[in-house]
C-alpha cells in the first residue's frame, strides 16, 4: 500500500503543456488543407441530373457557379415557386448574369481568364426555357465555355421518376 503514499513532496506539480502547440498546429494545418471554402448556401432545389459521359472539373477557382431551380421550401414565400437563378448568395434575375460574369472575370488573374468555365448546377425539374435563357446571356457575356454539372449515373435514370 506504500504505492499510494509516495507523493508527499508538497505543491501541485505543473502539467506539461509542451506538446500543446504541436497539437494545435497540427489541427490548424489539417483544417487549412482540407477545408473547401463554401461561400454560398444553396437556396434553390438542386437535384442534379445523371450522366456518364462526363469529365472531372479541376481548378475549382476557375468555375463560375450558376445555380437554377425552384426555390427550396424555406424561401418559397419570398421567392415564389417558379424556378429561379441563384448567383453567389442571392436570387438573381437573368440580366444579373452578365454583371456576375464580369465581376468574376475581374477577380481572376489575366492569364487565367480564358480558362474560366461557367458551371451550371441546374435542378432536374427545371424547364429548358430558363436554361437556354441563361445560355443566351452567357453567350452575350462571351463566357462560352460551359459545363453542365451532373451526378454520376446512367442517363436512363433521368427518366425513371416518371410513370
Amino acid at each position: 500500500m506504500s504505492k499510494f503514499k509516495k507523493k508527499k513532496d508538497g505543491g501541485i506539480p505543473a502539467i506539461s503543456t509542451a506538446s500543446l502547440p504541436d497539437i494545435v498546429f497540427m489541427l490548424l494545418f489539417f483544417f487549412m488543407v482540407v477545408t473547401v471554402m463554401r461561400d454560398t448556401s444553396i437556396k434553390v432545389k438542386n437535384t442534379l441530373p445523371f450522366a456518364d459521359q462526363v469529365e472531372k472539373l479541376e481548378k475549382k477557382d476557375l468555375i463560375m457557379y450558376i445555380y437554377a431551380g425552384e426555390p427550396s421550401d424555406r424561401y418559397k414565400e419570398v421567392a415564389g415557386t417558379e424556378a429561379r437563378i441563384q448567383l453567389n448568395d442571392k436570387f438573381a434575375s437573368l440580366k444579373d448574369i452578365k454583371q456576375f460574369v464580369f465581376e468574376e472575370r475581374e477577380s481572376t488573374r489575366d492569364e487565367l481568364r480564358q480558362a474560366m468555365i461557367a458551371g451550371l448546377k441546374v435542378d432536374m425539374e427545371t424547364n429548358m426555357g430558363l436554361v437556354s435563357d441563361i445560355k443566351t446571356e452567357l453567350r452575350e457575356a462571351e463566357a462560352l465555355k460551359i459545363t453542365y454539372i451532373t451526378r454520376p449515373g446512367e442517363a436512363a435514370r433521368n427518366l425513371q421518376r416518371r410513370y
Binding site: 501541485i12 441530373p49 469529365e55 479541376e58 426555357g129 442517363a155
Partner: protein
C-alpha cells in the same frame, strides 16, 4: 477530508490521440470534385446565311415537354438513340472527295456522307425538362465517344477517353505534345458537331 495534490497528468499520449484524430479525419473526408458535361457555346455573330447543308447530313433530334424523342421524324426510345446516332455518324455514304475510308457504316446514300459533314441538330421547346435534355446530350456524346474510342484503339491501341484523361493529368509521364497530336487526329476524324437551335416558343 484533506485535499490531495493532483498527480501530474502524463502528456505523452496526447500526441498519439492527436495523430489518431488526424488519421481519422484524413480517411473520412473526401474533397468532392464536381463532374460535368463540357460544352462550348457558339459565339454570337451577325446574322449571316448559314452554309448550305445537305438534308441527309443533318440528324434531327427533337425533345418535347413530356420527354418524348422524335428522331428524323420517327418516335424513338432513349436507349436506341446512341445506336442510331452512331449509325448516322458512321454511315460514310459519300463518294470521291467525300469518301470516308475509316467508316464502318452501311454506306447508305440517304444518310450522312462522312462524319466531318455530319451534323446532329438538337431541338427542344421551352417546357422540356432539363433532365431529359441532359439525358439526350449524354447519349449523343456517348455515340461520339464510342466512335472516337474505336478509332483511337485501331490507330493507337488506347481509348480516346483514356488519352484525354491522361492529357489532363498533370502527373502524366510521357510525351504530352505527341498525345495532344493524337487526340487532335481523332477529333478531326469525328468532330463533335452538335448544333442547338433556340428552343421554340410554346
Amino acid at each position: 477530508m484533506a485535499r490531495r495534490n493532483a498527480p501530474e497528468v502524463n502528456a505523452g499520449s496526447m500526441a498519439d490521440i492527436a495523430f489518431l484524430l488526424l488519421i481519422f479525419f484524413l480517411v473520412t473526408t473526401t474533397i468532392e470534385t464536381d463532374i460535368g458535361i463540357n460544352r462550348k457555346l457558339p459565339p454570337i455573330q451577325d446574322q449571316q446565311d448559314p452554309p448550305p447543308l445537305k438534308e441527309r447530313n443533318i440528324f434531327i433530334v427533337l425533345i418535347n415537354s413530356n420527354g418524348d424523342l422524335l428522331v428524323e421524324d420517327d418516335p424513338m426510345e432513349l436507349k436506341d438513340l446512341k445506336q442510331s446516332a452512331i449509325q448516322f455518324l458512321d454511315n460514310g455514304g459519300g463518294t470521291g472527295d467525300e469518301k470516308c475510308d475509316y467508316c464502318r457504316g452501311p454506306r447508305d446514300t440517304s444518310s450522312s456522307d462522312n462524319p466531318i459533314k455530319a451534323v446532329i441538330s438538337l431541338q427542344n421547346n421551352r417546357l422540356t425538362k432539363y433532365s431529359d435534355y441532359i439525358a439526350v446530350q449524354n447519349e449523343l456524346i456517348a455515340a461520339y465517344n464510342f466512335l472516337r474510342n474505336r478509332e483511337a484503339n485501331r490507330l493507337f491501341g488506347v481509348d480516346f477517353t483514356e488519352m484525354e484523361k491522361a492529357y489532363k493529368n498533370p502527373e502524366y509521364q510521357g510525351n504530352k505534345d505527341k498525345l495532344k497530336e493524337r487526340i487532335q487526329v481523332i477529333k478531326d476524324m469525328y468532330p463533335q458537331k452538335l448544333s442547338e437551335a433556340e428552343p421554340k416558343r410554346t
